[in-house]
Symmetry: C2
Subunit: 341 residues, 2 copies
């Protein structure tokens, strides 16, 4: 569905990350005999894949206001976004107790295997995250843009960082406003933030920023809904996560929020029993998924998703954006609408 430009963006970001890590490996070696190990933990996770969706959104935002923009131009900032993501993933996985990430052990799990001491491993994982966030800010700062553009981009980047941290806090404290939590934790820096950052680097007008906001806000929420649907109903062979992953983890998804509001008390208790269970059986998980299906919760979330996609689609019509950029935004939209992993 998405065309080759997203692959160009991925290739560029991967190359930047690779050369940045080479540079840092030399610095690490000159600094301390053990620093390389910490660096490797960051590098492993950052290079182990991921969809590079944020750098793609960044470039689309840039190109949407600057028709001559080249992929290389936003390479450093795209790499910065990936390192910001790496840092958040390291911390999230530790906070949620997730042992797996991107088809391998999470950072704290890998340190636990090595040192057989969960508290030490947690501390080392946090230090690895520290390196990653420092690298993210450093790369952002190096971006080859005029001072004023970097300054505005920096403010947008800091705002994203702030929002994600606040979203994670809401998640940890199980705040009832799940939409706000998603808006901050995912919406902010998955689509909306990178689009805005790219546009600011490209010297966007206020009208262009507003158009991108109208496009990006619903798409970010749609991304989250798709994520929740895949986490509950996704095909394990395609998602790479076990069936019913989010139910197993007791995650506070939009599906659960909807079920809480709409299910008859008896069904809700059945569902809660599965969510509150440490090791629910496969049969329990299947029952819970069937319940969400039969009661119309899944259909409602899917309908909301479609409406959000339509809203983003509509925001593109007549928007004061370059035709190249608009086409890319359309590609991103299709990617979120149809992704299966």
């Amino acid at each position: 569905m998405t065309s080759h430009w997203t692959e160009d963006v991925s290739a560029c970001v991967n190359a930047r990350l690779a050369s940045f890590f080479e540079e840092k490996a030399e610095e690490a070696q000159a600094t301390s005999p053990l620093a390389g190990e910490l660096l490797l933990a960051v590098k492993d996770l950052a290079m182990r894949g991921g969809k590079r969706l944020r750098p793609a959104a960044l470039f689309a935002g840039y190109r949407a206001v600057c028709s001559s923009g080249q992929v290389q131009q936003t390479g450093d900032v795209g790499a910065a976004l990936e390192l910001l993501q790496t840092y958040f993933l390291i911390q999230d996985d530790w906070m949620d107790g997730d042992e797996e990430r991107r088809g391998g052990p999470s950072v704290h799990a890998s340190f636990t295997q090595r040192y057989r001491d969960p508290q030490l491993a947690a501390s080392l994982a946090i230090l690895a995250g520290d390196l990653a966030v420092g690298f993210a800010f450093e790369l952002l700062h190096r971006a080859p843009f005029p001072t004023e553009r970097v300054r505005e981009g920096y403010a947008a980047f800091s705002a994203m960082h702030f929002e994600v941290v606040c979203g994670q806090q809401l998640d940890l404290l199980e705040h009832q406003d799940v939409s706000l939590m998603h808006h901050l934790k995912t919406g902010s820096y998955t689509v909306r933030g990178p689009l805005r950052l790219g546009a600011l680097l490209g010297d966007a007008s206020a009208a262009q920023l507003a158009a991108l906001e109208r496009f990006g806000e619903p798409l970010g929420v749609a991304f989250q809904l798709r994520d929740d649907l895949l986490g509950t109903f996704g095909d394990p062979r395609v998602t790479g996560k076990p069936a019913g992953h989010d139910l197993r983890e007791g995650k506070n998804t939009v599906l659960i929020a909807d079920a809480r509001d709409t299910l008859p008390a008896e069904d809700w208790h059945k569902l809660k029993h599965v969510l509150g269970h440490d090791h629910p059986s496969a049969a329990d998980l299947a029952t819970a998924a069937a319940l969400l299906e039969r009661s119309g919760v899944r259909a409602r979330v899917e309908a909301r998703l479609s409406a959000l996609i339509a809203q983003s689609e509509q925001a593109l019509q007549g928007a004061p954006l370059t035709s190249e950029g608009s086409a890319m935004l359309g590609d991103l939209l299709a990617r979120v609408a149809t992704r299966d992993h």
Copy 2:
């Protein structure tokens, strides 16, 4: 001993921090109903005191190359250094299990009191640290200096961040090279780093940077030795820490490193027994301190401290620095040489 300029620096940094936190409080309120709590944790610790030694070293470094420099000029960067320190303290206290800091509860201890869940409290403390480091980079980025100066300052700031994280890793893994650990964890961003940062912001020549390095490197080590001496022999009424604090915590200080190399096996075992004990008795602590005293370990560390101070003093003679700046560096030296808390 130190003159009023250090008070001017403290007042300026405190004012910047206060107005920055006001600005952020508005942002927090607009972001999420709970964000204010996280922000308050950062603010409480950042404003709860501390010696503001780093902003003083920063300004002295700046003034050493720029005789007309005003305190206000380095206010944002000084505040950034304090927020970097706040972030490191939050993480350190959690990693070391320290419940007290600057005369109040450490951040994770305060969240534990509130939520009665140590794992949740640890996660929230890490998030508070995340805010602090984001703020530090943001303030640094705003500094009112020409682009090229900010760029160089930024690289120095990132290098400090990198070194401290690597030093903390050595500390956690109890690496045998205690000098390297101290060089990275304390030396780097207590004296040497802030001096260099200030000098870079003031457009220092290579000769000036080298002179400040010759001055700052021994002084940073001296600061750490003083810290270790106070942590073991300091007067609890002055330091605000319990007597024999570092022995109680089993800390890997320079005193212990020296004792390991020089004590007869029998004495070393006695000392190790105290260090390895979860709750050593007051009598055990007194015995251990007396052992370090009698065996000459304390005197050796004090002699090293004096030699380092003399080395820094000598580095100032004939250095290509402004007379105002040199006087300030002398004040810093006196402060490290004589501090009792």
